[in-house]
Symmetry: C2
Subunit: 150 residues, 2 copies
């Protein structure tokens, strides 16, 4: 394929040319980098993301957490039950709308934030990227996500 040609069918079918595979495999790579850091908090990577959302804004419904994380209730419900079992959150039906479940941090869940303080910095340094560069890449990928979900 020269610069002037459009990519051939051969090229299009090569794994190394797949943007999706770059994303897919880098996602796994992130999970591996997080593992030792999160083991100390007794959290999995998806559980950590839930905690981050709750640290940002406590007392949310399952639905609002799902919207924020792009996850379904079928994924969240069991995860939240595990976090509840670990004592980091509570799950209670909303008094005024019994369909909703309000998820709140416990004292222990709030305390965990301090233990997690160094995680973002450690991850950032594992990327080997400059902060500004990192922000730009993050933004590009987020806007790709928007296109894909359209």
């Amino acid at each position: 394929m020269t610069k002037a040609d459009s990519p051939s069918q051969e090229d299009l079918m090569k794994l190394d040319n797949f943007l999706c595979f770059a994303i897919y495999s880098t996602n796994h790579a992130f999970t591996r980098v997080y593992k030792p850091l999160l083991d100390e908090l007794d959290l999995t990577y998806p559980q950590y993301l839930v905690m981050v959302v709750l640290w940002e804004k406590d007392d949310q419904t399952v639905g609002s957490l799902g919207e924020r994380l792009f996850l379904e209730s079928s994924t969240l419900t069991p995860m939240l039950k595990r976090l509840e079992g670990m004592g980091y959150i509570t799950r209670l039906r909303d008094r005024t709308d019994e369909r909703q479940v309000r998820v709140k941090l416990t004292e222990s869940g709030r305390a965990l934030r301090k233990k997690a303080d160094r995680v973002p910095h450690d991850i950032a340094s594992a990327t080997g990227m400059e902060p500004a560069e990192l922000v730009r890449l993050k933004q590009e990928i987020a806007s790709l996500r928007t296109s894909l979900l359209r």
Copy 2:
């Protein structure tokens, strides 16, 4: 946070500032875009990636597939058994080294490639990105992966 400051602890802990979450959620978004396309091939997204690797180079070991896809045998073995069950591949112990399992396309597996021909183009157009831009982003993410795995 002004331009001159380094990011505060508050900023570092915000989900929307996580590069990893951009990757994580965009990976899910890709899976959703692929779903209707791959349903017609009776493949899941990870199974499709395995087939792409085999279409590139037939007759590989479980180990070489894992190296290519960054997956462990504990993930691949069950996936390959499913693909074998669907008649797309065969799994046979290597005669000269009985530890290895050689994975080969069946006639039906090779034929599937034609049905998959339009998938890469459809995906590319769902990204809404220009080919050159797409290549650049893919490359940036792949090199991030390399940093993370270091």
